[in-house]
Amino acid sequence: MVLASESTATDLDVADIEELLAGERQAFDRLVSRHADRIFNLCYRLLGDRDEADDCAQDVFLKVFRNFKQFRGDSKFSTWIYSIAVNTCRNRRKSADYRFWRRILRFGADSAEEGGVLNPEIEDPAPSPLTLLTRREQEILLQKAMDALPQDQKTVIVLRHVEGLSYEEICQITGYNPGTLKSKLARARQLLHKNLQSL
C-alpha cells in the first residue's frame, strides 16, 4: 500500500492547500475526498472500531480545516495529516469516554489488552491459525492481535506494515528517533507474533 507519496497526489495536495489559503473552500473538500479513506483506515486500524474510526477521522479533518495555516510544507501533506490522525487516535484511546465504551462493548468477551498479551490459556494446538482460516477470518484475527498491542507498538506496526510507510516517514509522524523506532518495531513484532500464536 502506497501512501500519497506519488508525485501527483503531492502536487494536488500542495495546490489545494494554496487554494485553501486563498479562501477557496472547495479545495478543502478535495483534500477530504482524496485522503478520507486512508485516514479512516488508519483510524480503524489504530482503534479497531468503525464508529470510533468514523468519528476520529472527522476530528482529523476538522483539525486540518482549523489549522491548515500551520502547515508549512516542510513535509508532505500526507505525513502531516497522518501525524494528526495518530495523535488524535492516541488521545481518543486515552480518553475516559473511549475506555468506558470499550469496556461496555467487550463485557464478557475475552480481552487481554492489559499488558498487550492475549490469554495464553486459549492457545490453539493447531499449527497456525493463518493457514487455517479464510482471508476474512485472518483479517479479524490480525486486527484482534493488533488491538491487544500497546498503543505505541500498535501505531508503529500499522504505519510500517499496514500503511507501508518508510522509517523516515514514521519518525516524522511519531516523533521517534530511528533507534527508538527500530526498538519499538522489534518489540511490537515479537508481541504481535506471540498474540497470533495464542489465538
Binding site: V32, F40, N41, Y44, R50, F61, L130, V162, R189
Partner: protein, 375 residues
C-alpha cells in the same frame, strides 16, 4: 549463530532487507534448524497478511458530516459565544482577563488592608488617665500608651541648632512620665491673684475676686492656643532664637495679666521692656510654676539645659484638671538631672529604671504629662 540470535535478527529486521553478510549467516542457520525456519516462515506470512489487509473505506456521507461539524460550533465555541453575549461582545480572552483582574484586585486589597501584627509590649511604666484626643501610640514598647495624636513626632522634625540630637527615624521606645503639680500651689496662687486683681487689657478690666472655673478655663484655653501658635512659629525659625524667647515671655505676660498679682505683672512688664530693648531676660514662668503652662515652660527650659530638644507640646482639657503633654528627647547622661529638675515642679511618677535602660541609644525619649488638679 544460535536460534535466539537468529530470531532476534528476524524480529529486528522485519520485512526489511538484511545486509548481505548477515543474511547469509541467517539463511545458513535456517537451512540447518527446522524450528527457526518454521518461525521465519510464520513471521513472513504475518507480515504479508498485514500488507494485504483490506483498506477500509470511509462511510458514506463522510464529507457531509465533516461539513456539519465545521458549521456546527463545538462546546468551547458555544461557551465563547455565551460569554460574548454576557460580556457585551468581548471574547473568551477578555472574560478571562476580567476574572484575573478581579482576583488581583482582591489579593492587593487584602495585602494592603492586612493588619501588621503588633510587637509585644516590653515596657510598662505607670500610666495616667488618657487625656482627650489621644491615640494609642504604637511603638516597640508603647503599645496602648497614651500619646496625643498631634504629638506624634515627625521623623523630619529639625534638630535644634547646635545640637546633634534628632528624633530617630524609626520610632524608638518612648517613656511616659507624669508630673503632678500640687493643687495647693494653684490655690495659693489663685488666692493671691484674687487679692490683687489687675486688669491688663480690655477683657480683663473687671475686678475679679473669685474667677469662675469656666472663665478661668477660657483664659487658659486662650493662653494655650496662643502658646501653641507661638510654639509653631518659633519652631520654624529655630529653637533658642531670641525672638522665640520674646514670644514666650509675651505669652507669659498675658497670662500674668489674667492671673498674676499686680507685682508679678509689673515684673513681667519690666521684663518685656527689657526684651524689647534687646536683653535676654529670665524666663518669667519660673515665677509661676504652679500652673500647667508655667510648668511646661519650665520643663522646656530644663530640656534645653540638658541639651535636649522638645518635639511637641500639646495642652489638653479635662473636667477636673489641667493637663499638657510634652514630648522631648534628651541625652541619656543628663536624664537623671532632668528628673531632679522636674521634682522641683511637683511630684513625679518616674518610669521604671528598667524601662529607661531598655530604651537603649544615646538619648532618652519621653512623653511627659503635666497635670494639675483643679482647686
Amino acid at each position: 549463530m544460535d536460534c535466539d540470535q537468529v530470531r532476534d535478527i528476524l524480529f529486528d529486521a522485519g520485512d526489511s532487507d538484511l545486509p548481505e553478510e548477515l543474511r547469509t549467516q541467517v539463511q545458513a542457520h535456517l537451512s540447518q534448524c527446522g524450528s527457526c525456519a518454521d518461525e521465519a516462515a510464520a513471521l513472513q506470512r504475518e507480515w504479508d497478511a498485514l500488507k494485504v489487509l483490506p483498506e477500509e473505506k470511509a462511510p458514506a456521507g463522510f464529507l457531509h458530516r465533516v461539513h456539519e461539524r465545521i458549521e456546527k460550533p463545538g462546546g468551547t465555541q458555544r461557551a465563547g459565544k455565551w460569554l460574548s453575549s454576557v460580556f457585551g461582545g468581548k471574547g473568551l480572552v477578555e472574560a478571562v482577563g476580567l476574572a484575573v483582574s478581579a482576583v488581583l484586585v482582591v489579593v492587593i486589597y487584602q495585602a494592603v488592608t492586612r493588619e501588621v501584627p503588633r510587637p509585644k509590649r516590653t515596657a510598662v511604666p505607670p500610666t495616667v488617665e488618657a487625656p482627650a484626643r489621644v491615640q494609642s501610640f504604637q511603638s516597640e514598647s508603647g503599645k496602648g500608651r497614651a500619646v496625643p495624636d498631634a504629638l506624634q513626632p515627625s521623623p523630619a522634625a529639625p534638630a535644634p541648632a547646635g545640637s546633634d540630637l534628632a528624633l530617630q527615624k524609626a520610632e524608638p521606645a518612648i517613656l511616659t512620665l507624669t508630673l503632678i503639680i500640687p493643687a495647693e500651689a494653684g490655690r495659693r496662687h489663685e488666692a493671691a491673684r484674687a487679692a490683687a486683681p489687675a486688669p491688663h487689657d480690655e477683657g480683663m478690666k473687671a475686678p475679679r475676686s473669685a474667677p469662675s472655673p469656666m472663665r478661668e478655663r477660657g483664659v487658659q484655653n486662650g493662653l494655650r492656643q496662643d502658646l501653641m501658635g507661638r510654639e509653631r512659629d518659633t519652631e520654624r525659625r529655630g529653637r533658642g532664637d531670641r525672638e522665640m524667647q520674646a514670644a514666650r515671655d509675651e505669652v507669659m505676660l498675658k497670662r500674668g495679666a489674667a492671673s498674676a498679682p499686680a507685682e508679678e505683672k509689673e515684673r513681667h512688664v519690666r521684663q518685656d521692656s527689657r526684651l524689647r530693648d534687646g536683653h535676654r531676660g529670665e524666663v518669667s514662668v519660673k515665677d509661676d510654676p504652679a500652673t500647667v503652662g508655667g510648668a511646661v515652660e519650665r520643663i522646656r527650659k530644663l530640656v534645653e539645659e540638658a541639651h535636649g530638644h522638645v518635639a511637641a507640646i500639646e495642652p489638653s482639657e479635662n473636667t477636673d484638671r489641667q493637663e499638657a503633654t510634652v514630648v522631648a528627647e534628651i541625652p541619656r547622661e543628663a536624664f537623671s538631672g532632668f528628673l531632679n529638675g522636674l521634682k522641683q515642679l511637683g511630684s513625679i511618677q518616674e518610669a521604671e529604671e528598667e524601662a529607661i535602660q531598655r530604651q537603649g541609644g544615646p538619648t532618652v525619649r519621653f512623653s511627659l504629662q503635666v497635670t494639675r488638679p483643679r482647686g
